[in-house]
C-alpha cells in the first residue's frame, strides 16, 4: 500500500535510541506556532518556491496549466492555492528554485530503503522512526510500515502529537517499541492557542498508552517566551510522576531551522520569528525541572 511522505532521513540521532532512519509522513492535525516542518502540514504534495535562487526566466510559467505561476512586472508570482502539484514546472526550472514536498511511495519500498542501514541499527540499538507531520493522519499506511518493519526485525519508534483516535493507538500498540509522545502545553485553552487544537484527546491517549504498558518518551518542545513557564514545567513534572510508563522526559528546545520554509510554501501564517533557544537556556530548563523533582530527565545537569 502507498502513502505520502516528504522525506526519508537516514542517520537520525534525535528520534529514539541509536542510529535511526526517520520517515516523515505528510499531514498534521495541529498547527504549532513553532513548527519547523511546515511542509508537513498538508496531506498532499505542495510546491515550494525559493525566491533567492530564481533568475526570473519564466520557463516555469510557460508550462503551468493552472495559472498558479505568472509573471508580474518582472517577478514570478506563485499562487499556491491554484497549484495542483503536477510538477511540470519543476523540470523546467534551470535553477532548482522550485520543488515539491511530498511523494507517494509504498510501505514495502520505504522499509527496503530503511533496511540498507540495518547494520548501523544493529550496532547502535537503532531502527526506524515514523514522524511527520502526524503519522496517524495516515493510519493504515503507518500500520503497514510498522508491520513491514517488524517483519524485517526493526526496532520501531513513532513520534506522535497524540491527536488521533484512541483506536488507532490500540491498533499500532503491539508494533511500536517506543512512543515519542509530544507534550506541548498544559491547559486546553492554552494548547488551542498555540497549536489550534485542544488537548483533552491528547491527554486521554497518553493515559491510554500508559495503562497499556507502552514504552513512552515524553517529548516537550520548549519555546522561549511561549511555554517555558513554571506552570508548564510543574505539569511536566507531575506527568513524570503520575505515568509509570514514561521512561524518559526529553526537552526539545525551539530552533528556527525551518523558518525560511514558511514563505517558500506559501503559508499565510508567518514563522514565529524568534531566535533559537541557546544551549544555556536548554541546560537551565533541565536544571529547573530537576529542581522541581521531575523524573527520568534525559539530560542530567
Amino acid at each position: 500500500m502507498e502513502g505520502i511522505l516528504f522525506d526519508i532521513q537516514p542517520f537520525a540521532l534525535h528520534d529514539g535510541p541509536g542510529i535511526r532512519t526517520t520517515i516523515f509522513l505528510k499531514g498534521c492535525p495541529l498547527r504549532c506556532q513553532w513548527c519547523s516542518n511546515p511542509e508537513s502540514f498538508l496531506k498532499r504534495s505542495n510546491l515550494s518556491y525559493n525566491r533567492e535562487k530564481c533568475i526570473a526566466c519564466f520557463s516555469c510559467v510557460r508550462v503551468c496549466e493552472t495559472g498558479a505561476l505568472f509573471e508580474l512586472s518582472d517577478v514570478l508570482v506563485v499562487q499556491h492555492d491554484l497549484c495542483n502539484a503536477c510538477g511540470k514546472c519543476i523540470d523546467e526550472c534551470p535553477e532548482d528554485a522550485l520543488k515539491l514536498y511530498g511523494y507517494r511511495e509504498s510501505a514495502r519500498n520505504i522499509v527496503n530503503e530503511v533496511l540498507k542501514d540495518k547494520a548501523y541499527f544493529d550496532n547502535s540499538g537503532g531502527g526506524i522512526t515514523l514522524s511527520g507531520g502526524e503519522p496517524l493522519m495516515q493510519p493504515d499506511f503507518t500500520m503497514e510500515i510498522l508491520k513491514e518493519s517488524k517483519k524485517a526485525g526493526l526496532h520501531t519508534c513513532i513520534e506522535t502529537c497524540g491527536f488521533a483516535a484512541e483506536a488507532e493507538y490500540e491498533k499500532i500498540l503491539p508494533l511500536v517499541d517506543m512512543f515519542l509522545f509530544d507534550y506541548k502545553a498544559g491547559g486546553s485553552e492554552k494548547h488551542r492557542l498555540l497549536t489550534k487544537q485542544p488537548n483533552e484527546l491528547i491527554l486521554e491517549n497518553l493515559e491510554f498508552l500508559n495503562t497499556s504498558m507502552a514504552n513512552i518518551v515524553l517529548r516537550c518542545p520548549i519555546v522561549p517566551g511561549v511555554n517555558d513557564t513554571l506552570e508548564h514545567f510543574k505539569a511536566i513534572t507531575k506527568l513524570s510522576h503520575d505515568l509509570d510508563q514514561i521512561t524518559e522526559v526529553e526537552l526539545m528546545p525551539y530552533h528556527n531551522y525551518g523558518e525560511h520554509k514558511y514563505e517558500q510554501i506559501g503559508l499565510s501564517e508567518p514563522a514565529l520569528g524568534i531566535p533559537a533557544a541557546t544551549e544555556e537556556q536548554e541546560d537551565q530548563w533541565y536544571a529547573d525541572l530537576a529542581k522541581l523533582g521531575c523524573k527520568n530527565l534525559k539530560k542530567q545537569i
Binding site: A12, D91, K116
Partner: protein, 762 residues
C-alpha cells in the same frame, strides 16, 4: 675520532652563500674524483663531503640534535619535487642563487656546477635514457602546467626504514653485521664494494653524532641557565652513546631514529610504537622515565619534524598486527597520541591501525583526539587492509601484516617494499578526450591514443563502444607508465646505491645488493589516479541520457561541455539529477566499480609485463586533483570546466545527497583488494564526536565491519564553518547535525547555516 680534520668546522647557523658555493664545488670535485663505476664509494664520499653544508646547530629548547638541511645541489635520495639521488634542489633559487651577497666569482662557479649536474644528475640521466615507447605516450612531467591524460614523475619516495633493527643493533651492531657479510664475499666484487661503502657511511654517522656531542657540550659550557645547561649535557651524552653504542634508553632510541632519518634524508618514521617499545618499557622498569618525560621528549621530536616541513610525508604509524610486543608497543602508542593531542600540529601524520583483538583503549584514545579537533590519528582497519594487501601485493599473510602507509596514504610493506608513485593519470581527461575522438576539449589539440584506434568503435553507437574506447585509452597510457617506473628504478641503480636506505631495507644486506639493484625484497610501484568518481558519474549520465533515454546525442553533449553548460541549464539539471556515486545507489555504484576495477586491474597486470613485483593504483589526497582539474574541461557529471577533480575515493562533493550512511555504504563497495591505498575523507562538526559519541562510534564500527578500510576524520571549528560559508567548494564533505539529523553543511540554506554557526562555540 679525529680522522676528519674538517670536523670542527662543519657546524654553522647558515653557511654564507659563497661558502656554500665552495662546499658545492668540493662536493662536485669529490664526485668527479671517482671512477663512474665505483658508485658505492663515490656515494659514501659524497655523503660525507656534503655534511658541511647540511649540519645546523642545536637550537634553543631542542632536546635532540638533528637540524640538517638538504643541499642546494647534493646527494638527496628523496628530494622535494623531482629528484632521486644526485640532484639540484628545486629551491636552489631561494636557497642560494638569489642571495645578494653572492660574488660574481661564486656565480661563475655555480653556473658551471649547474651545467655539470644538469648532465650528471640522476633524474636528468634517467630522462635521457627513457625509450621512445615511454616518451611518445607520456612525454610530460608537468601535470601542474598543462593539460594531459597521464604524466610521469621522476622521484623516489616513501622509504620506510627498519627502525626496529636500527635500535636493536645500534650503529656498531649494524656495522658488525655489514662487516660480517663483507667477509663472505670476494674482495673487489660489487657486493664487497657495497659493504665497504656502507661501513664508510656508518663511520660518518658516528662521527656526525660525536661531532654534535662535542658541539652541544661546548654550548653547555657557555650556558648560564642552569637547567638548560644540564639539558645540553644530557643531549651530548646521548649523542656520544649512540655514536659508539647500541641505544640503551628511550631517549637514545629517539635520537638515533631522528638523526639517522634526517642523515639519510628519508621522511617517514615507520612503526614508531613498535621500534621504541622495548626501550621505553626498559626505562619505565628502571624508573628512569615517566609518562610526562616521555611526552616531553616526543614533543621535541615533533617540533623538529615540524621544522622539516614535509607536510605530505612525516608519517608515523601506531597500532596494528605484526608488532613485536603489542602490549609494550601500545604504551608508546598512547604516549604518541597524547603528544599529538598536546602539540596539535600538521605533522607528524599519525596513523592508527587497529584490529579486533587490539586493546580498545588505543582506538578510544584516538577518537578522543579527533573529538577535540585533532586531524590525527587517521584510522586504518587491519581486518580489511591485511587481507587486501595480501591480495594486491601478492604476498603471504605474515608479510601483509606489515602494511603501512606513507605520504598521502600509499601502502608499502614496512621496510620490505618500495612503492614510489611515479605516474599520475587523469581518468576524466581520458574520458573527455575519448568522447571527442582524440581532441582535448580544453586545448583543441590532439591527445592520447592514435586516431586510427577509434575506427573500431563504430562512432560510439552504443554505450559499450564508448566504454571500450575509454578503456583502451586508459590502457594505452598505463603500460608506458609502468615501464617508466621500472626503468626509472633501474636508471637510479646505475648511479646510486642509496647506502643509508639500503642498510635498513630488506633484503639488501643479505643479498649484497643495493635497494634498486635487486636488493629490495619487493620492488613495487604505484600510479596516482585522479578524477575516478567524476569519471564514474560522467559515464552514468552518458549512459542514462545519451544511450538510454536518448535525450541528446553524444555530439550534442560534447557541445554542451564545450560551452561549459552555458545556455544548457535544463540539460545540466538533468545531468545533475542522474544517479551519483555515494548514495548507495546500485547503478551509480556499479559504474564506479567498473571504473575502479578497470584502472586497478589494468595497473596491477602491468607489473609482470615490465618486471616489477607490484604496480598498483593509489587513490590519494593531495592537491594534484585541484591542479589537474584546472586544465580539465567541463565533464558529463555536471562538473564545470577547470574546477577541481574530486579528491580521493570520496563521492563528488555534494553529490552524495542521501546522507552519511548511504555514502559509507557506497564507499565499502569498491574493491579494496586491488590497490595500494584509497583515501576516504570525512568532516564532522564537533558535537558529532562529543555529544553523539556513542552513535558516532557505532557509525564507524559498522563502516569498518562492512569492509571500510580507512578513514580520515576532521572535526571542524566555528572558524572553519565560517570559512565554509565563504568557500563551500572546500567543504563539500563537512557533515553537521541539524535538529536531529545530519546534513552536509554546504547543502543547508544560509539561514540554517547561520543557525548551526551560532550554536558552534570556539
Amino acid at each position: 675520532m679525529n680522522k676528519n680534520p674538517d670536523r670542527q668546522r662543519i657546524l654553522q647557523a647558515e653557511p654564507d652563500p659563497n661558502q656554500m658555493t665552495s662546499i658545492l664545488h668540493e662536493f662536485t670535485q669529490t664526485y668527479r674524483s671517482f671512477d663512474p663505476e665505483d658508485i658505492e664509494m663515490r656515494e659514501a664520499a659524497c655523503i660525507r663531503a656534503q655534511l658541511k653544508g647540511r649540519v645546523r646547530p642545536v637550537e634553543d629548547g631542542d632536546l635532540f640534535a638533528g637540524r640538517m638541511m638538504q643541499m642546494p645541489i647534493g646527494f638527496i635520495p628523496q628530494s622535494k619535487g623531482t629528484g632521486m639521488g644526485y640532484c639540484i634542489h628545486p629551491d636552489i633559487d631561494s636557497q642560494l642563487l638569489i642571495k645578494p651577497d653572492l660574488t660574481s666569482e661564486s656565480r661563475k662557479i655555480l653556473k658551471e656546477l649547474l651545467e655539470f649536474w644538469q648532465k650528471e644528475g640522476t633524474v636528468y640521466k634517467s630522462r635521457r635514457k627513457m625509450p621512445d615507447e615511454v616518451t611518445r605516450v607520456v612525454p610530460s612531467e608537468l601535470y601542474y602546467l598543462e593539460s594531459g591524460i597521464a604524466f610521469v614523475l621522476y622521484r623516489m619516495s616513501g622509504i620506510q626504514l627498519n627502525y626496529s633493527k636500527l635500535l636493536a643493533l645500534g650503529i656498531p651492531g649494524l656495522r658488525a653485521e655489514v662487516s660480517k657479510y663483507k667477509s663472505t664475499v670476494q674482495e673487489g666484487s660489487k657486493a664487497f664494494r657495497l659493504y665497504a661503502a656502507m661501513e664508510h657511511v656508518l663511520e660518518t654517522f658516528s662521527e656526525l653524532a660525536a661531532y654534535y656531542a662535542v658541539q652541544v657540550l661546548e654550548q653547555a659550557r657557555h650556558m648560564s641557565d642552569k637547567n638548560r645547561k644540564v639539558e645540553l649535557e644530557n643531549i651530548s651524552r646521548v649523542l656520544t652513546n649512540i655514536a659508539h653504542k647500541r641505544p640503551a634508553t628511550f631517549r637514545e632510541g629517539l635520537q638515533l631514529i631522528y638523526l639517522y632519518n634526517i642523515f639519510d634524508g628519508t621522511k617517514n618514521y615507520g612503526r614508531m610504537d613498535d621500534s621504541l617499545a622495548d626501550l621505553y618499557h626498559g626505562d619505565l622498569q628502571a624508573g628512569t622515565i615517566d609518562e610526562e618525560e616521555g611526552i616531553r621528549l616526543l614533543t621535541s621530536i615533533w617540533q623538529l619534524m615540524k621544522s622539516r616541513d614535509n607536510r605530505y610525508d612525516t608519517r608515523l604509524i601506531i597500532g596494528g598486527r605484526g608488532r613485536n610486543n603489542e602490549e609494550k608497543a601500545n604504551r608508546v602508542a598512547m604516549l604518541i597520541l597524547e603528544t599529538t593531542r598536546r602539540v596539535k600540529e600538521n605533522v607528524p601524520q599519525v596513523a592508527l591501525r587497529f584490529h579486533n583483538d587490539q586493546d580498545p583503549s588505543l582506538y578510544q584514545k584516538g577518537l578522543d583526539l579527533l573529538a577535540t579537533g585533532n586531524t590525527y590519528p587517521m584510522l586504518y582497519n587491519d581486518e580489511v587492509n591485511i587481507p587486501s594487501a595480501r591480495n594486491a601485493f601478492g604476498v603471504p599473510h605474515e608479510e601483509a601484516e606489515h602494511i603501512i602507509q606513507y605520504g598521502c596514504g600509499e601502502y608499502v610493506l614496512n621496510h620490505r617494499s618500495v612503492g614510489t608513485p611515479s605516474g599520475v593519470i587523469n581518468l576524466l581527461q581520458a574520458l573527455l578526450v575519448t568522447m571527442n575522438r582524440g581532441i582535448d576539449p580544453s586545448t583543441g589539440k590532439y591527445q592520447g591514443m592514435p586516431v586510427e584506434r577509434y575506427v573500431k568503435y563504430n562512432n560510439f553507437q552504443t554505450f559499450k563502444d564508448l566504454a571500450d574506447a575509454y578503456k583502451e585509452q586508459v590502457e594505452y597510457h598505463v603500460g608506458p607508465l609502468a615501464l617508466q617506473e621500472y626503468l626509472e628504478y633501474k636508471h637510479a641503480a646505475d648511479d646510486n646505491a642509496y647506502l643509508l636506505s639500503s642498510l635498513l631495507m630488506d633484503d639488501c644486506l643479505a643479498r649484497g645488493k643495493a635497494i634498486f639493484d635487486g636488493g629490495i625484497r619487493y620492488l613495487g610501484g604505484t600510479l596516482e589516479t585522479y578524477g575516478n568518481t567524476n569519471t564514474a558519474d560522467s559515464l552514468v549520465a552518458i549512459k542514462e541520457l545519451v544511450y538510454h533515454q536518448k535525450i541528446f546525442t553524444l555530439d550534442a553533449l560534447n557541445q554542451m561541455l564545450k560551452a561549459n553548460f552555458r545556455g544548457y541549464g535544463k540539460e545540466l539539471k538533468m545531468i545533475l539529477n542522474c544517479p551519483k556515486y555515494g548514495n548507495d545507489h546500485q547503478f551509480a555504484d556499479r559504474m564506479y566499480g567498473f571504473v575502479h576495477d578497470h584502472i586497478c586491474k589494468t595497473t596491477r597486470d602491468q607489473a609482470k609485463e615490465v618486471g616489477l613485483d607490484s604496480y598498483l593504483v593509489v587513490v590519494i589526497n593531495n592537491d594534484a586533483n585541484t591542479v589537474m582539474g584546472s586544465f580539465t574541461a567541463a565533464s558529463p557529471d555536471g562538473r564545470k570546466a577547470f574546477s577541481h577533480l574530486n579528491p580521493g575515493n570520496n563521492p563528488v562533493g555534494g553529490a552524495d545527497k542521501s546522507g552519511v550512511t548511504a555514502c559509507l555504504n557506497s564507499l565499502v563497495k569498491a574493491d579494496t583488494t586491488l590497490h595500494a591505498g584509497a583515501v576516504q575523507n570525512m568532516k564532522f562538526s564537533k558535537e558529532m564526536l562529543s555529544k553523539y559519541r556513542r552513535q558516532f562510534e557505532s557509525l564507524l564500527q559498522t563502516y569498518f565491519e562492512k569492509g571500510g578500510s580507512q578513514i580520515m576524520l576532521t572535526v571542524v571549528s566555528r572558524g572553519e564553518l565560517e570559512d565554509a560559508q565563504k568557500h563551500p567548494e572546500n567543504y563539500q564533505n563537512l557533515i553537521v547535525r541539524v535538529g536531529g539529523f545530519s546534513e552536509r553543511f554546504v547543502n543547508l540554506p544560509p539561514e540554517t547555516q547561520n543557525e548551526v554557526l551560532s550554536r558552534t562555540l570556539n
